[in-house]
Subunit: 249 residues, 2 copies
């Protein structure tokens, strides 16, 4: 199989391939955290490094699929990928019961599309709130325009949320389910990581803390917050720990 | 009710008292982490601060019980406290099934006594390994001597493991179940906290990382490791984050 990913999908594909006895090739951007790359290789995958643009790694993965006859496993734009990622939302509602509001990050939209469908199936009145970085606001622009828009390569520290445009297949699902899109700054992401360290005793990476950042800003009602990803780069973990020490007990 | 504790029992008593609509007074040492004290007060308890010696806070709690007619809730030396804390070991075996070896920290011995009984009830062949700080090795000395021994007030950063002698009621239970006692240094505690941040995405406090430190040193077999306590002081969390960044991915 061949996949492209900034890191978490890469690790998932590597692990799944190893479990199934398949060979995995994963195309990763040169600015992916070293730790994500090392973990992907540790699970036996061959990592091919390209530039930082999310479009470039998708193209390279397509080439590799053709050249080597590999089966592509897309990071978000496929119904089965979205459905698999959506099991997180399913489990949240099964465990926590109906919530007023559900927050999840959106990048290519696979996780959010899957979760939104699952959450609305079990809890039709839940307000679905998508969260993206301020400079990666392609989903907000696209939903406002009613069609997919593309932004310049985002520079946010949330390396998992740098996809430049919603997926072709995920976008209509987002349009049908997402009530609003909220934007977060890098500063808010680090504050949310600090909150998670201090109050939840959990390490989150910036992308994984995005939904928490908005939930903390709004602080109302009984809500579900999807925390996705704990592969924090050392410098972000250190900064979050510093902020956690400064914060209220 | 009145309790004395370096912090985690304090918070548990405060929370339980609030839930039951009771007034809680908690005697804490002056070197308890600020965060533990603040959290105890946030749950509505009155905190009385005494010196750093664990004997001193036990005496002050006894005085308060007499003076104000409060019911004492001992931190470890009571069968019901040990039984309650032992549910952690019970849950571990229920979830993880039989293990070759079980690691838990020991201070006054309530957690370990309860867990050892629970673990051995479900998994009689499990080797029970108690972990304590190098300068708080009262349980090791006591088990070797066959009777309770007392050490000088420990200075370890593991503030939850500074009790100077095993409990009167917990000691015979430890003697019956614990196979060996391993000692850990502050340096190993910080390394174990770093491992937990990096690999488990969990914040542990030094006391809570003690059993993990020994499990990492031994690294063999299918083991159960009790991680107890995530109220890390800012300086310890920051140091662990620094070490996590240096470590292998």
């Amino acid at each position: 199989v061949v996949a492209h990913s900034s890191g978490n999908h890469a690790q998932a594909v590597a692990r799944a391939a190893r479990t199934l006895g398949l060979r995995a090739v994963v195309v990763m951007p040169s600015d992916a955290p070293e730790r994500k790359r090392a973990r992907t290789e540790a699970d036996g995958a061959e990592v091919v490094v390209v530039g930082t643009d999310s479009d470039e790694r998708a193209r390279r993965a397509d080439e590799l699929a053709r050249e080597r006859g590999l089966v592509p496993v897309p990071p978000y734009d496929h119904p089965l990928i979205a459905a698999g990622q959506g099991t997180a939302g399913l489990e949240l509602i099964e465990d926590a019961d109906v919530v007023e509001r559900f927050y999840a990050p959106v990048s290519g939209g696979g996780l959010m599309a899957g979760c939104a469908v699952a959450v609305h199936a079990l809890s039709p009145k839940t307000e679905i709130v998508a969260v993206e970085p301020a400079d990666g606001n392609d989903t907000r622009l696209s939903l406002a325009a009613g069609e997919r828009r593309k932004v310049a390569p985002p520079r946010t520290i949330a390396d998992g949320l740098r996809v430049r445009t919603p997926g072709e297949q995920t976008f209509p699902v987002l349009a049908a389910h997402v009530a609003r899109v909220e934007l977060v700054s890098d500063d808010e992401l680090l504050d949310a990581m600090a909150f998670a360290l201090r109050e939840l005793r959990l390490v989150l990476e910036p992308s994984g803390a995005a939904s928490l950042a908005v939930a903390l800003r709004e602080r109302r009602g009984r809500v579900g917050v999807l925390l996705s990803g704990g592969n924090a780069a050392p410098e972000h973990l250190a900064e979050a720990a510093r902020r956690a020490g400064r914060g209220a007990p």
